[in-house]
Subunit: 705 residues, 2 copies
């Protein structure tokens, strides 16, 4: 018999095939002049080399963790009746990290081809160049959802056990954490250094080929924004589905059904992929269309198709429509939250304009103003997440009433299932979201290639237009990614509670008036800040090294500054500094996050962990929105001034705005987006270690729990 959940692997495979189709489309385009090919080759080589070295470093980490999981998770292997579960967890973990890496490699591979092809196509105008850029991004988008859902399906098909999927998800997330941190440090080291020496000190334009860091900067766009963002949404996507599956176990137990609720998220995710493919196919710029409009239209089409498909499926498969409703609440909230991010980072709106205007009073006022708007941008999406969660909860809770007499916690189990479904709904359109997002760095590269390849003013103007749409898309998708991660980790909290109850019978309190929850939440609330600080300080340290090198080259290479023909800077050296620094610095912050989580659990037990996760989520959301939006708005304030406003390029206002942009770079591209992943990793890890935390903890040992 055809089981409905098989929709998931089927559409996952179709998604991967579609990604190959788009890849072929991009690949067969003309890759431009020899000069462009040379530069694009250098970018590609640098990016692939970094990814290779990064994955090799991480392989060691993955191997160590896999052994630990094998030994201890879910129970110490020497004391468990089911040692196979340990084996499954460890293998699923390795598989998860491999899938995440694979999605990253696929995306990067095409991104480093699409950049030069889109640039070259821009000679003929906007339309085809846009399509190349977007389809390049779509390879990443479809690979992320395809590989993710196929991976989940395989693990589920073999084990039929969501606990194994938890291992898979943890693998994906922990790899994503390192990929984001490493990529984020790399990209901003290069970007900040190139800007500070090139634009601020020497006054040469962005992407000027004389700048020794220009190739490193382009490489960074790819390893940070393409591979990093892909890994981030890959991990949220997998985690959201996992959370519903774990909560589905409880509902299947309550309702005495076999796999019904576990499989709902797989069905929804499969249809979400179909919707994303259809959405991606409709994206193109018409005669008078704008690239930004095309990207938005694609999102709306995807949402609409998803709503209709899941409604039909729910009717056909006789799912209660309130579950469908919860998923749709998530979709709507995701879109609304994306739009508020757009408000705070768009050039047409007050925050960017006032920040640009404030730049007339110098860099300090630019920072204060932009930071303040960033602070202001936090509340609206949080209200969105809060209301969405409450609606989803209240919508699905009544389904549990009929079982409440037998199982008192049934309404709660249904309610949190509702929240998790909202997360799945929000993330169902992630295929398209990643596509739009990856489009950004591709066309950013294109612009740079057009400049370095001397394609002329007209082409650069087209590339600029493509790039501007990419920036807006990036702001929106970042808001979306944070919101989706937020809802996902709230669902993971419920999953954590469920696992603890299921395995040990202990009902974890999330009551803030419990001393351990309270203490845990106070510690947790400081963690995203600690993590952000570590990655940003790494950027600072690394950038200092690179700035010295760039200054040295301009000082020592005769004729470089004047742009004498034939004189070229030593690009490779800068690429190397960025890569070495990133590889050195990516481990400590993430390892600290992991170690503190274990410490909290083994000292304070599950209640401390519960509080700790809540604290992490709350302050993680605050910092992620703050940094993402403040960074985006400084970037666009600078761009606004560069269009001629408030004195234009070269004015004091412009210099101040460049300082703002430079501060915003690690905010929005290093620290901000890593926070999501960090929180997800902690949540998954807590679920994995939940049983151990219950059994072994210091306060229990001391008898004061």
């Amino acid at each position: 018999m055809f089981e409905p959940w098989l929709i998931a692997p089927i559409f996952a495979v179709i998604s991967i095939l579609m990604a190959f189709y788009f890849y072929r489309y991009v690949d067969k385009q003309d890759s431009g002049t020899d000069r462009m090919k040379e530069i694009a080759g250098a970018i590609r080589e640098g990016a692939m080399a970094f990814l290779n070295r990064e994955y090799r470093t991480l392989a060691v980490f993955v191997a160590i963790v896999a052994v630990l999981l094998l030994l201890f998770i879910p129970s110490p292997i020497w004391a468990t009746p089911e040692p196979l579960k340990n084996v499954a967890t460890a293998i699923a973990y390795i598989f998860g990290s491999a899938c995440s890496a694979l999605a990253g490699v696929l995306g990067m591979n095409v991104a480093t081809k699409a950049n030069t092809r889109a640039a070259y196509a821009a000679r003929e105008g906007l339309n085809r160049a846009f399509l190349i850029g977007f389809r390049g991004g779509a390879v990443m988008g479809l690979a992320v959802v395809g590989v993710g859902l196929l991976g989940i399906s395989i693990v589920y098909w073999i084990t039929r056990d969501p606990a194994a999927v938890l291992g898979f998800s943890f693998g994906a997330s922990s790899l994503a954490l390192f990929a984001k941190a490493g990529g984020g440090i790399y990209t901003k080291t290069a970007d900040v250094s190139a800007d500070l020496v090139g634009k601020v000190e020497l006054g040469i334009p962005e992407d000027d080929p004389r700048n020794p860091a220009v190739i490193a900067d382009n490489v960074g766009d790819n390893v940070g924004d393409v591979a990093g963002m892909g890994a981030d949404l890959f991990d949220s996507y997998v985690a959201s589905i996992l959370a519903v599956m774990i909560l589905g176990v409880a509902l299947d137990f309550i309702t005495k059904s076999t796999g019904l609720f576990i499989q709902i998220p797989l069905v929804f995710a499969g249809l979400g992929i179909l919707a994303s493919i259809l959405g991606a196919l409709t994206v193109r710029v018409g005669k008078k269309g704008s690239p930004g409009g095309a990207l938005n239209a694609g999102t709306y089409v995807t949402c609409g198709v998803f709503a209709v498909l899941t409604l039909l499926a729910s009717l056909y498969l006789k799912y209660d429509l309130r579950i469908w409703g919860a998923a749709i609440v998530g979709v709507v909230a995701g879109v609304i939250i994306g739009i508020t991010s757009d408000y705070f980072t768009s050039e047409d709106k007050a925050p960017v304009q006032k920040t640009a205007e404030a730049s007339k009073s110098g860099p300090a006022i630019t920072i204060i103003t932009g930071f303040s708007y960033g602070l202001r941008s936090i509340l609206p999406p949080l209200i969105g997440i809060g209301i969405a969660a409450a609606i989803a909860y209240k919508l699905v809770e009544p389904l549990g009433q009929q079982y409440a007499s037998a199982i008192p916690y049934a309404p709660l189990s249904f309610a949190v299932f509702g929240i998790a479904m909202a997360a799945v709904g929000m993330l169902s359109i992630v295929g398209l979201i990643v596509s739009s997002d990856a489009y950004g760095p591709i066309v950013d590269n294109s612009r740079s290639l057009a400049e370095q390849g001397n394609l002329g003013e007209e082409v650069i103007k087209v590339a600029d237009e493509l790039d501007a749409a990419g920036n807006t898309a990036k702001a929106i998708t970042k808001g979306f990614a944070i919101a989706a991660a937020g809802l996902t980790v709230i669902a993971l909290l419920a999953a954590f509670q469920e696992i603890v109850r299921d395995e040990t019978g202990v009902v974890t309190s999330f009551n803030f008036m419990s001393p351990w929850v309270l203490a845990g939440s106070l510690i947790g609330v400081g963690m995203p800040a600690l993590f952000s600080a570590s990655v940003m300080l790494a950027v600072g340290r690394n950038a200092t090294r690179m700035i010295d090198e760039i200054r040295r080259q301009f000082r020592e290479i005769v004729g470089l500054r004047e742009g004498k023909p034939g004189v070229k800077p030593d690009y490779v050296r800068c690429v190397d500094i960025a890569a070495k620094g990133a590889l050195k610095e990516l481990l400590p912050p993430s390892v600290i996050a992991i170690v503190v989580t274990l410490a909290v659990g083994f000292i304070g037990g599950v209640e401390a962990v519960a509080g700790y996760l809540v604290g992490n989520i709350l302050s993680g959301l605050v910092l992620a929105f703050l940094m993402g939006n403040a960074g985006g708005l400084w970037d666009n304030a600078k761009k606004l001034i560069e269009t001629g406003a408030f004195g234009g390029k070269g004015s004091d206002a412009h210099k101040a705005a460049v300082v703002g942009d430079t501060v915003g770079d690690p905010f929005k591209d290093t620290a901000g987006p890593s926070i999501n992943t960090m929180i997800t990793v902690m949540s998954l890890m807590s679920s994995l270690f939940a049983v151990l935390f219950v059994r072994f903890n210091l306060i229990g040992l001391l008898g004061i729990n």
Copy 2:
């Protein structure tokens, strides 16, 4: 019979008398040359004029709120059997705001005398100048605790009802909120503008009399740092005592005692005042002593005396020693947290040194580095608060065991009483803390007066030394103030829960898995950010106006820039701009905070409010520590460079550090410290409106609560 709690009013009166003694000591010192008298007179006049206008504006607000309280709180007056309670609440509210204002006026009054006298005394060296500065600060410190505790005692003596004390505390806090916001906007408008035009654009020294904003800057130190910080700690101090009193009601009910537990905080606070007075009297700089060492020694003496006195009192009055233990846990935590703040803001430690070094790479790296260390500084004090709260909880919880069979929630009631006692313990030494803190702006002014009064290099050097100690003290007391406010609002959470249970029988959930707690916490977590943004944007707007005015004066007043004898800038105009702007901008942020709290309560009911308060506390602590410490460390990084490090004054590193300092100014002196007060106001307001929130709320009306 002598009731033990009468210790409170007795030592409160002694504290006020002691303040007058110190005031006389300061007043009889020589106030310096005619030029200094002139300048000091202008500062005094400006400060008093602002305070006058501010209080007049606030009187209208207080009157409106008093009428609302009279009508609605604790119950609508037309439907309550006890209308006198409404009258008492309203009068206590007015009394509380008047007391807060009084403490501010007293402190400001002496601060604007001590500044010039300390400067003039600095001609004879460090010792007496330090003593004048410190005793000037001690007038504020002792006035704060004296007036605060006397006010509480009077309200309690008349009504014997902690609910009336709640009105008093709300009055103190809401006035503090406006005073902090108004003072903070004023002081940073002047400071930022003076620095940006004077130091950055024109390269003239700090406090140069040619700068039209120099007097406004000095006025700002007084209205912002003296009156504002005083009001802040006044409000935490009163609120912490109130929280214990409210929780004491429950314990008196449980243990069937009359007023025993209500009165414990009054006894402890009374002894805390005695300890502070003794501590203050020992503060002096010895032959080889340093001002910083003297301030620290005073703190340690106060803590030690407090511990001994309260131990003796506990033994004599037969209080369980575990309650004493909880208070001491608070004291110890407060001191440790102060020390961690010191680490992150001290010139001798890595954070400041690395930030100063980073300034060599330009202002963007200064900001990124300093901000990162600010982020890192968040976790240590939070761990301190978390552990202190958990220890206090676990220490006192067992006292409730014997009543648990009759009243199941008895252990919890005792436990939260323990947390509240830790807050009282921490705040017991606040008399000395405020003294050290107010010393800072006084000697800051002295330094400025020494410069403007041409007292010569030697005297300026002494004044610099005094000032440096003031800056360190300020960083420590800020950390302390935030921690104390944090513990206080956690205690107020418990008080809120107690009031709701007592009045309506409803047990408020603080469970994060309740949809309304969850949604409330997500909204609450965004509020401190929204509030900070509003006050910082106000500074930005106001500073822009002032910068224009300063630039205009340098442009239009012939000979000003060159320092031609007899040519003076128009100081009054700048004082006026700062004052007008601050008065215009101080209401909206605070009113928004109040309105949102009411909206959450009347829409989501008490559970939403519970989550909302938790969210507020968690993110409030994060932002307050971040902003306070980042601001402090940028300030000191600049100072470090000014001592000659990394290129010294005038170097590019110095310019970058000045940008950091300017960004840090509104962080540490406007937004950061206002957050405490905002959270306290929200917590108190929630307690006041608790019963109304239970009876009238939208989700209840819709039947979905």
